[in-house]
Amino acid sequence: MKRYLAVFLGILTAIGGFVDIGDLVTNAQVGARFGMSLAWVVPVGVLGICVFAEMAGRVAAVSHRPVFDLVRERLGPRVGFLNLAGSLAVTFLTFVAEIGGVALALQLVTSVHHVAWVPCVALLVGLVLWRAKFSAMENILGLLGLALVVFGIALWQLGPDWSGLAREAFTAAKPAGEQWTTYAYFAVALFGAAMTPYEVFFFSSGGVEERWTAKDIGVMRANVLIGFPLGGMLSLAIAGCAAVVFGPLGISVETLGQVGLPVAVALGKVGLAVVVVGFVAATFGAACETGLSVGYALAQYFGFQWGKYVRAREAAAFHVVLVAAVLLAAGILMTAVDPILVTEFSVVFSAVALPLTYFPILVVANDPQYLGRHVNGHVANVLGVGYLVLVGVASLAAIPLMIVTRMGQA
């Protein structure tokens, strides 16, 4: 019974923790501008993240060592450093965006400018990273993130032309008046948002923190293979709401307030309150995850003590990195940079860094010296190699598309 509860809780937190500021903004932007014609990218991205998260989780459960540690040992310091640099830069950018997202959500409730909220949010994130228990942080914020299910209810309440939405989704037809380059740019951004590297590193490091063993592989797989796809459904619901409400009015999504507006149209103040709770939980949870991932990445590469199960005194360098990351992120946001712009950059650069992140995981997951009989099977390898080709294409195309389309403005 305890095991079933663990699976159920894991799935719920995986759903609630799947959506972050990148998913919120990108899905709403795409829905408003392209309807459901880019919906196909979400399942493609979700399957990709499932493939690599399962590999990383299996590595953590069997070897009891985190991915960065093994990548450095298996592929050497140079490749390990490339892996670290790419992932760290994108994860930190995402961390900045998530803290900004929490501040934007609080602005919606108070009308106080988000810059004024940044120090408070940064302080709170810092306190949670320092003091809160890993499982409590993951479970509470993940469960609160489930509030975003309200997007699904709102979409149903809006009473859209379901067959029309389905036709758009399955034909993947570019709307008239849009360029193919812009369509491709948003496809890459959506793919980057779904396959953000930190999710895999946080997941596997969390496995080590929670002392997974080979016996936990089943639970881990259930969390990934059920939780993540259901989280992906939330992404589609966000895009659907934006398509139904903003599409006919020609509104483009530029702010977090606009992302939640369709829920207000459908469900009124109660729905709006729930969605704002979801915004805060999703962005705050992701801020904690990305902040920890920054610390995990550096500590695991350079080999110093890390983790929330270790006393702060024993993992002093790890906690110093966390504090420094929080201060730097807050400092960047205090310059009044637009968190939505940071988010847009983070999802595109996430796509750029994907091969650096996922290639080493595939190599380590195939090494019998680390995984014994739990090495990748044929299905995992076929999917893994297929996705490496895909992330390679997305990575090469991301920057040129960003320049040509002026970040989707063309």
């Binding site: 040992e73 298996r74 592929l75 050497g76 310091p77 140079r78 490749v79 602005q107 919606l108 409730v109 108070t110 009308s111 409400v245 009015l249 020609g250 509104i251 483009s252 530029e254 702010t255 307030g257 606009q258 939640g260 507006l261 207000a264 149209v265 009124g268 103040k269 709006l272 704002v276 190599v363 010296q369 403005q409």
Partner: protein
């Protein structure tokens, strides 16, 4: 355990190649940044069309915020934040055209018409934000005005694009 890939296993020639490519890319980016932008008539119209579309989106957002507030489906701070963001968006859109040198291929009247429309968008969104701050139901005239300006902006963007 001997790693198949490891320190020193990357061929020196490949490493040199990577460095050359990175250096060349850096040079291209630097040189690209040094050129002065001189918009053609086509570039000016594309920028103007984009600004008009952005303004139309902001005006429609402000209208939706007013309508939802009137129907008591949002709370005041949320609607005010939406309208304030929309106001900022119209300002950015106007700056996008105002700071661009009018090329010879674009007539004075054409440029003035675009600026006039963008100015009207700024004005009507500001009034929507003021109404939301003041509270109470929005006058029908304001809602109509927002609707009309949004349509004018969209039509003008269509003509230029």
């Amino acid at each position: 355990m001997r790693p198949r890939f490891g320190p020193g296993t990357m061929p020196a020639a490949a490493l040199r190649g990577v460095r050359v490519v990175l250096a060349a890319l850096s040079l291209v980016v630097l040189l690209a940044g040094c050129t002065v932008a001189t918009p053609s008539a086509g570039d000016w119209r594309a920028t103007a069309a984009r600004s008009l579309e952005d303004s139309a989106s902001a005006v429609s957002t402000a209208r939706l915020a007013l309508r939802e507030q009137e129907a008591e489906r949002t709370w005041s701070t949320y609607a005010v934040t939406l309208a304030a963001d929309a106001e900022k968006q119209t300002g950015t859109a106007t700056d996008g055209v105002a700071t661009l040198q009018r090329p010879e291929g674009v007539g004075v009247a054409e440029a003035a018409a675009v600026m006039d429309l963008l100015g009207r968008a700024e004005d009507v969104v500001r009034r929507a934000r003021q109404r939301l701050v003041a509270g109470g139901p929005p006058p029908d005239a304001l809602l109509e005005r927002l609707d009309t300006v949004a349509q004018q902006l969209t039509r003008a963007a269509g003509r230029l694009g």
